[in-house]
């Protein structure tokens, strides 16, 4: 059937920059060869169920299904995939962890595994294998993946949340390029509002977009929830400054952002109701399909940096974890490793059109990052991002603070005038102290 030897096939696949996407029989041959040499041998009659976040880009999901089908053909392990809105993966995973029954694998958001680290399988061997093979993990992925000395999940990818803006409207407001400093960004927001081309950040309970901009705003002003020893330090002049800054931004946003969830800004941007926001590349991808004039007139930029001069962004991490209750631990590990092998990962990440960013350095070379310059900023989000918890640990407590919307609520309470600066900070501090006790 083929002249390839198993060794040659696997060796070919390990080339970090191997970008020639295998498909059809070639992919199957490679998958079979991989299955025979991989360190993990799935249990007899193993079958896996995975609950993953619901795709934003259809092509990404199609590629993922293909990948799983190849895995099934190569190993005989059937993979059943179910999908939930990414906000709903966490409660389901939590209930499964609590009851000890449910899908074998959960592919969720941020530090989901750190909500129940003792229920997550130790996957250090998979992480070491992939790290060695593909140029090492980015620093933030190492932090997200670890609980104590072991890896409790495999950081599959990030979804970068960067600034999305309309080029012409920005030019009309006097900005030929997107502002890269806090002060100029505020001026930009004011000018855009004045021209009746406002923008907006989600101030509602938006797990992705809301958390991403609120943390950027806090961190860029030097504020932090906790220090490196997880001591709560939110009550600081820097936090107050961040709140004042956010309030000025809020006054120049489109009305209604306090009610926004993760999809609200996408809809508003695509309807030309707003002209700047923070989001993944999904708005651009959707615009390419259904609103080409918007796609041509929009671009992406990094968040403006604060006085420290360093990026203070928070991007969405998508880790996959296997539950300790699974009957098929070897099959789980095999699938995790299989997902990130170059022959699978490269075409998959390409199909995501920039929506997903790799955590393994070798994948910087993927052409998806250079084929369209508007996607290039998303290449580096894994390297630019801070982790949930900021200076502090990325564990269970940071996950809880994010899940409980402590920081967003602090900003929302002040921006909407429900509370004054002191009260909004005090309430966040009280909640954080309980979480970090």
């Amino acid at each position: 059937m083929t002249n390839f030897t198993r060794r040659a096939l696997v060796k070919g696949a390990t080339a970090a920059g191997a970008l020639t996407a295998l498909s059809g029989p070639a992919l199957l041959d490679w998958a079979k060869a991989w299955a025979q040499t991989a360190p993990w041998k799935p249990e007899k009659d193993a079958k896996l169920s995975m609950l993953r976040w619901k795709y934003f880009v259809q092509a990404e999901d199609d590629a993922f299904v293909k990948l799983c089908e190849a895995f099934t053909k190569a190993t005989g392990v059937k993979v059943e995939i179910s999908r939930e809105s990414y906000e709903d993966v966490q409660p389901k995973a939590s209930v499964a962890a609590n009851t000890g029954t449910g899908p074998d694998l959960f592919w969720g958001l941020y530090s989901l595994p750190h909500l129940f680290p003792q229920k997550c399988m130790d996957v250090s061997d998979v992480a070491d294998y992939l790290g060695k093979k593909y140029g090492g993990w980015v620093e933030s992925a190492v932090k997200y993946g670890h609980s104590g000395n072991k890896w409790i999940c495999i950081p599959i990818c990030y979804s970068g949340a960067l600034m999305n803006y309309r080029i012409e409207a920005s030019k009309k407001a006097g900005f030929s390029k997107f502002p890269d400093k806090l002060d100029s960004f505020l001026e930009y927001a004011k000018a855009m509002k004045k021209n009746n081309t406002p923008g907006g950040f989600a101030l509602g309970h938006a797990s992705g977009d809301g958390n991403s901009w609120a943390h950027w705003c806090l961190w860029s002003h030097g504020g932090n929830s906790v220090d490196k020893d997880d001591k709560v330090i939110i009550n600081s002049p820097e936090t107050a400054k961040a709140l004042e800054y956010a309030k000025q931004l809020y006054e120049n946003m489109i009305p209604g952002t306090a009610a926004w969830n993760d999809s609200s800004n996408n809809k508003a941007f695509l309807a030309s109701e707003i002209y700047w926001t923070n989001n993944g590349i999904s708005i651009y991808v959707a615009a390419q399909n259904s609103a080409k004039q918007i796609a041509e007139d929009m671009d992406h930029a990094y968040f403006p940096v604060g006085p420290s001069g360093k990026p203070t962004e928070l991007h969405l991490m998508y880790p996959v974890l296997a539950m300790t209750y699974t009957k098929y631990p070897q099959a789980c590990k095999a699938l995790m490793a299989f997902m990130l092998e170059a022959d699978n990962f490269n075409p998959w990440i390409q199909s995501a059109k920039g929506y997903l960013t790799h955590c393994l350095n070798a994948y910087d070379a993927n052409p998806v990052w250079t084929a369209d310059p508007k996607a290039t900023p998303f290449r580096d989000v894994a390297k630019r991002t801070l982790t949930a918890g900021g200076l502090g640990s990325v564990g269970e407590k940071a996950a809880t603070a994010i899940s409980d919307f402590v920081i967003i609520d602090m900003f929302a309470n002040y921006c909407t005038g429900r509370e004054d600066v002191k009260t909004s900070i005090a309430n966040a501090e009280r909640q954080l102290k309980r979480i970090y006790r």
Binding site: G204, G256, A259, A271, D409
Partner: protein, 319 residues
């Protein structure tokens, strides 16, 4: 006489040829106990046990994925000083009171209307039920769109008609959001009240109205002295359920606002879910849920005993 009666009774009570087992078998109470057991087991397993477990969890520091230890009233003490908790209590009481009163008023009005001889009566009655038939999540999504800050068809229409220049911030402003979710709840809850009260109205004998009319009673007097008194048992039941459903509402709020903006529409149920499941604080979430019990009992007592004082409601025969 008394002695004779006593002797006769004793002789009858213990015939020598009937064993204790046979007596037990013939005992209706014993048989009743066995018939009751499946229901009792069901109630204990699915109602009493979860309730007890919930109350117990509220006294522990349980997190999702691991058990906790007994911490006494700590969760309650934390909640006592938690402004969001008190906001959720306020929201729940406001939501329940306003929605229930309006649902009752509209429901009763609709029921009276539907009890009249109208053309296409059957079709109209079926149409009234539609909001109740539509799955809650679907109607909640519809309302979410209707009240969207940017895409509301209401705002759009008013703008086109020139009544407003900017969109109404339905779900982005705390009070607007509260009234919006209350409106959605009323829309959804009215059919239940209306149809149940209509069923009650159908049981009122027309001869009473005929007699009253002959006596010269006005429409209001017929309603006040015939319809209302005869309808009160049904009203008590309907309002008890309506208050319970409204107080424990979750889906509408979760789909429309997730408790926002700035927690302005968090009900105790949604707040409990957020703390227990989203954040993983099972103990604290259970404490919020347990804190609903006194309010629920209070609401039930008011609607049950406040609206009607018939003997059957208190365990006796009706008069």
């Amino acid at each position: 006489m008394a002695d004779i009666a006593l002797k006769t009774g004793t002789a009858r009570a213990a015939p020598p040829d009937v064993s204790a087992w046979q007596r037990l078998r013939a005992n209706k109470n014993w048989l009743g106990l066995w018939f009751m057991l499946p229901t009792a087991a069901f109630l204990i397993l699915f109602l009493a046990y979860p309730l007890g477990l919930g109350v117990w969890l509220s006294f522990t520091d349980s997190r999702l994925g691991r058990g906790g230890v007994f911490v006494g009233l700590e969760n309650y003490i934390f909640l006592w000083d938690d402004s969001v908790f008190w906001l959720s209590v306020f929201n729940t009481i406001l939501y329940t009171t306003v929605a229930s009163v309006i649902k009752f008023a509209i429901g009763l009005y609709l029921a009276l209307l539907l009890n009249e001889h109208l053309p296409f009566k059957a079709i109209i009655r079926a149409v009234v039920l539609i909001p109740f038939i539509v799955p809650t999540v679907l109607s909640a999504i519809a309302f979410w769109w209707l009240f969207d800050p940017q895409f509301s068809v209401i705002s759009w229409s008013l703008r086109k008609m020139g009544f407003i220049t900017e969109n109404i911030n339905f779900l982005g402003d705390p009070w607007n959001a509260r009234w919006s979710v209350i409106f959605a709840n009323i829309w959804r809850g009215v059919p239940f009240v209306a149809i149940t009260l209509l069923a009650g109205l159908q049981t009122v004998s027309p001869s009473l109205y005929e007699a009253a009319t002959l006596d010269g009673a006005s429409t209001w007097q017929r309603f006040r002295h015939i319809t209302y008194p005869l309808l009160t048992p049904i009203i008590a039941v309907v309002m008890t359920f309506s208050v319970l459903f409204t107080f424990t509402d979750f889906q509408l709020i979760w789909v429309m606002t997730r408790g926002g903006p700035v927690n302005a529409t968090h009900l105790m149920a949604t707040f409990s879910y957020q703390r227990a499941i989203m954040s993983g604080y099972l103990g604290e979430g259970a404490a919020i849920a347990t804190a609903m019990i006194p309010f629920l009992l209070g609401a039930i007592l008011v609607s049950w005993f406040g609206l009607q004082r018939r003997k059957w409601q208190q365990g006796g025969d009706n008069d």
